[in-house]
Amino acid sequence: MTTVLYPVLFGILILVLWQTKTLHAILHTDTFTLPLPGRINAIIADNFPTILGNTIVTVRVAILGLLIGSAAGYLIAVLVVIFPTLGQGALAVTSVFTAIPIVALAPVMNNWTKDVSGVVSVRSAVSKIIVVALVCMANMSINAYRGLTEVKPFSEDLMKVLAAKPVKMFTKLRIPNSVPYIFTALKVGVPSSIITTIVSEYFAEYLMGIGRQIKENILMAQYAAAWAYIVTACVIGIALYALLMVVQALVMRNRKAR
């Protein structure tokens, strides 16, 4: 009971401090830079269609990037299990991608995707999707590899004794075993795909997208509008995370939580 009550009370406290401008006094700022929650709400309500349009652009990139990157990462993990000798190195090289700053990747990818399409929105989306995919790929490949290899003791031996073919080894043992690990990767991947998308949008050609709107509104000193997009980004993040939790609960309803 208190598990829910305390955080909610804390949240209300912050909102009250914010709305009564006490927060502004603490941070030495004004309602122009840090608009009141009511004002942010009003802006979201007034500009709902515009915000929705930008949200769709961002969410599409984030989800496509996440899915493509995760699929590629999983495939890499499967290949590493099949070809362990060269695979170990591939895994190490892939994991290095997580350490590369997005700020360095995004402009490079913009350059590389210039010829993909004559339409700005398409080629910009492709560029952003590749960046998100690269970031998610490394995370997934590492987790999936663990999921595919860290099977219950002796289950591998059992499969061998039953003369299971390599394909069966995957479909009956390794792949089912990796399911919880996929969710572990996605739990990191969902927030990071959204943030990566937003940062890539800073550098993108196309003017739509939450990240781009935050930047543009700040350049024009429309802080309230920028806040509206930041709140939207948080809501998307929480919504996608919640969605992931629901999917996980459905997929793993017959398993013990890890």
């Binding site: 700022t29 695979g87 994991s95 350490a99 360095a104 490394a138 987790n143 980004a233 995370y241």
Partner: protein, 299 residues
């Protein structure tokens, strides 16, 4: 020969060579079809040549000098923010472990923090704090804070019931429980958090650089992107910032070995005792695992 082929280093080298080959092939293709190939994909040797070129890219510095001096600025800011974030993350985890109320209040917000696009908020933080330096450090600190806090908390929670009971049977004081059991045990988790956040702190510092002048890698990066200076500077920065991210991550791994006696002992043994093959491979597996863990524990 076969033995060399089977080592991890060989396979890493193999893939690095493959990636370089793909890059070069693409570079030849771009060079043949584009008017300004160096903007899209220069040859690797062109980038290396740019690194060693003595030609000045601005009034006083060569490309390498410029990149290194701005990198020093960026790294310093990132390190400062990182240190603050690590310290506060550790303290929060400690408080959460000490007090059930604090844990209950903070835990959901710790989850929500990772949903907030802090990097997206960079411009706003800039206008709230009014100082580019303060906001740079603040953003690096916030980004660092989350993985360190969650992983350290996971480290405290990993202490088995039996260890608490053992300490209780010795009538150990709370302070001894923390200094002798909980903190030493959470060290590897703490470093896992730092391995995740060190590259993030670098990314944050570079990104905030792009918002306003005042030196730093991001600043020079956006100048070169606007073709205010040679494009080779751009490529040097791309590679150098990737290098910084990787090295910051590696550095945390080395520090971890230094601060975990059992790992230090094993790696020392590995160096001096080459014959002990079994132990070596065991240790290799172990380091491979902790290496894998780096990206994993950020739940």
């Amino acid at each position: 020969m076969k033995k060399i082929v089977k080592t991890r280093w060989f396979s890493i080298l193999f893939w690095v060579v493959i990636l370089a080959a793909v890059w070069e092939a693409a570079a030849f293709h771009v060079a043949a079809t584009k008017r300004n190939p160096e903007n899209i994909l220069p040859h690797l040797y062109q980038i290396i040549a740019a690194a060693f070129s003595t030609q000045k890219v601005n009034q006083s510095m060569t490309a390498t000098q410029l990149v290194l001096s701005s990198a020093a600025t960026t790294v310093f800011r990132a390190a400062l923010g990182f240190a603050i974030g690590v310290a506060s993350g550790f303290v929060l985890a400690l408080l959460m472990n000490l007090s059930g109320i604090i844990e209950k209040i903070a835990f959901p917000y710790l989850m929500i923090i990772q949903m907030i696009p802090i990097l997206g908020m960079a411009p706003i933080i800039l206008s709230i704090t009014g100082s580019i330096n303060v906001s740079r450090i603040l953003i690096a600190a916030i980004l660092t804070f989350y993985p360190v806090a969650t992983n350290t908390l996971a480290g405290f929670k990993s202490v088995e019931k039996e260890k608490y009971e053992l300490m209780a049977s010795y009538a150990a004081k709370k302070r001894s429980l923390y200094t002798k059991v909980l903190i030493p045990q959470c060290i590897p988790y703490f470093f896992t958090g730092m391995k995740i956040s060190a590259p993030m702190a670098i990314t944050a510092a570079i990104l905030v650089d792009t918002l306003q002048g005042d030196g730093g890698l991001g600043c020079v990066l956006s100048q070169s992107l606007r073709h205010a200076m040679s494009i080779s500077v751009f490529w040097l920065i791309v590679f150098f910032s990737a290098f910084l991210g990787i090295i910051s991550w590696k550095l945390m791994g080395w520090l971890e070995v230094m601060f975990t006696p059992q790992k230090r002992h094993l790696s020392k043994k590995k160096q001096t005792d080459g014959k002990d093959v079994e132990l070596c491979t065991k240790e290799k597996n172990r380091s491979g695992k902790s290496f894998l863990k780096a990206g994993v524990l950020q739940r």
